[in-house]
């Protein structure tokens, strides 16, 4: 093996890595945030295990609800963007269908897969003794509101990507922050107090709180107004803005002739 040759490979990969400045910056940020997420997870979950048991039944039950968020609700954030990838966009737009039909049709399968994945986790967790105390109406409401909020954000993200063709800040922002601040892996209340303010401005925090209340403690809707109201407002705002941005960006791409471009 020739060291010089390996050095050549290293060199071109390093140069290519440096070439995407924005991605490089956010890669570094993701690494730092990811490291903190696991540090909190490893430290505080062990420290506060008893409190967790009291509030959520078990850490496993707590995590499984996080999975429900990841596989069903988080899919909505990614779905509109995936539905309009440049390879398919032009042909999707040539189909004699309304834009919303195209978007929903393009993402339906991802939801089915997401639900299947969640049910698998749910079944295995039950086998391992995880306990759930479910209020069906509250659970369904939490899922619908979660999907609606994320769908709105996903439309904003997709709209931006129709124009930029590459990275969009919305997906990154919510993906990166949800792991650390929103309580996917551990309750956000375990974070130092100043950081909890970040959690409170993220809609995912409310989605997860409501979902856990509904699936682990069978809370009715009337007992979850603190989550319900912010989520309803967020859904209205994000869907309105998202749909507007998405429609405008498609129009913009049609005007600039960049519909099929990467």
């Amino acid at each position: 093996m020739q060291a010089k040759r390996l050095l050549g490979f290293l060199y071109i990969d390093f140069k290519a890595w440096l070439a995407y400045k924005y991605e490089l910056f956010f890669w570094l940020l993701n690494t730092v945030v990811g490291a903190f997420t696991y540090a909190f997870l490893g430290t505080y979950v062990t420290l506060y295990e008893k409190e967790l048991m009291v509030k959520y039944g078990s850490f496993l039950s707590f995590l499984i609800v996080g999975m429900a968020y990841n596989y069903i609700i988080y899919t909505s954030l990614m779905a509109p963007r995936m539905a309009i990838n440049p390879w398919n966009l032009m042909w999707r737009l040539l189909i004699p269908a309304k834009l919303y039909e195209i978007i929903i049709g393009s993402v339906l399968f991802r939801y089915l897969i997401g639900i299947f994945q969640f049910l698998t986790y749910f079944a295995v967790a039950t086998l391992f003794g995880a306990k759930f105390n479910i209020d069906p109406i509250s659970t369904l409401t939490a899922i619908i509101l979660g999907v609606a909020v994320m769908w709105g954000l996903g439309m904003i993200s997709a709209g931006i990507q129709v124009i930029t063709k590459r990275w969009d800040p919305v997906t990154w922002f919510f993906t990166m922050l949800s792991g650390l601040f929103s309580g996917v892996w551990f309750p956000y209340q375990l974070l130092p107090e100043p950081l909890q303010y970040v959690s409170l401005i993220l809609p995912q925090t409310y989605i997860l709180e409501m979902l856990r209340g509904a699936m682990l403690r069978a809370k009715s809707l009337t007992l979850m107004m603190d989550q319900l109201i912010p989520l309803v407002l967020s859904a209205i705002i994000t869907i309105s803005i998202g749909y507007f941005i998405y429609m405008k960006s498609i129009e913009y791409a049609k005007e600039r002739g960049t519909v099929g471009e990467y």
Partner: protein, 340 residues
């Protein structure tokens, strides 16, 4: 309705301003917008059941016209209608009635789906009755052999992929079919068959075909009329049979004398003697003499031939000049001739 497609004073330019300059302009910085004109006041009509071709060099605006008419590009100004429906305001109605074979026909296909499965998706998306039957019909129509129907898209040859894209364009049994460079990648045997298919409008006499291509033989063999476009402007719209009339008489009625390479020098001597005859115009190109005689007189032309032989020139061939469509197009494009 007489016209399938009506285009009136269509203009389109692309903004090529760099992204960072556009951002700077958003914050009030003064920058000049860089624009490239793709269409500059294009107008034409295509009759129902017509095979209409658009010819022109790269970047002339052909694909821009196709994109606007197929509703994926918005023009800056002007109006375009397909089957009476406005391509911007009634784009859904337009899309219900058209079939498109775009320039990059690979788009929109799943590479790990079979040819049949790919088309089946579109059959469902178009809400076609008996989708499986319709898919089989169009696959047979484009002559994609049955043994390839169950192959992954990525394993089809370039020609097969193009046939599949053509099948997709024909799937909804459209009233208007847009074909953008349709013979790209097709094998020679199928190109001949394809010309026949276009001539027959894929089995429907009332179907309108809009053809954008570089393939002059395809245009010559299929189109009723052709528009020649250059730098975003239509420079001529003529029936194919009349295109040759756009070339000056001096070119159309000339004779060509081709001589052996050993006789090239003597050709110059012959040229000096042409002044004795009723020759209006001539040009020598290596071992070829092209000349125009007054009133196209065959007798005078024969005199030239006799003089050549008497001068010891070895004649390869002597014939009246045949103008091919390629030459006509080249001359129109070079001359920027306006015609309608």
């Amino acid at each position: 309705m007489k016209s399938s497609i009506e285009v009136d004073n269509l203009k389109k330019s692309y903004d090529k301003t760099r992204f960072r300059d556009r951002v700077a302009m958003l914050f009030g910085a003064k920058r000049t917008r860089e624009k490239v004109v793709a269409l500059d006041g294009v107008s034409f009509k295509v009759r129902k059941g017509e095979v209409f071709g658009v010819l022109g060099p790269n970047g002339a605006g052909k694909t821009t016209i196709v994109k606007i008419l197929t509703t994926v590009l918005i023009p800056d100004s002007g109006e375009a209608k397909v089957l009476g429906y406005d391509v911007i305001k009634e784009s859904l109605e337009v899309r219900k009635r058209i079939g498109v074979l775009p320039e990059d026909s690979r788009r929109g296909f799943g590479w790990r789906l079979t040819a049949f499965e790919n088309l089946l998706f579109y059959a469902y998306a178009y809400l076609l009755p008996n989708p499986k039957e319709r898919v089989k019909e169009v696959l047979k129509l484009v002559e994609l052999e049955e043994e390839h129907w169950d192959k992954w898209y990525q394993r089809l040859s370039q020609g097969m992929k193009q046939k599949l894209a053509l099948a997709r364009a024909l799937l909804p049994n459209p009233s208007v079919v847009f074909l953008d460079e349709p013979t790209k990648g097709l094998d020679i045997m199928f190109v001949a068959k394809f010309r026949e298919m276009v001539r027959n409008k894929f089995g429907d006499e009332d179907r309108t075909i809009f053809l954008s291509t570089h393939d002059l033989r395809l245009v010559e063999g299929t189109c009723d009329r052709v528009a020649i476009i250059n730098k975003g402007k239509i420079v001529a719209i003529k029936p194919v049979s009349e295109l040759k009339n756009l070339v000056p008489n001096s070119i159309r009625n000339s004779y060509v004398l081709e001589v052996d390479s050993k006789s090239t020098d003597r050709l110059n001597d012959l040229v000096l003697k042409l002044k004795e005859l009723d020759i209006e115009w001539y040009q020598v190109d290596n071992h070829k003499l092209e000349f125009l005689v007054k009133d196209g007189s065959l007798e005078v032309a024969n005199e030239v031939l006799k003089m050549a032989i008497n001068n010891g020139i070895l004649v390869h061939s002597f014939h009246k000049k045949e103008i091919d469509i390629e030459e006509v197009i080249m001359r129109i494009l070079r001359g920027g001739k306006n015609a309608s």
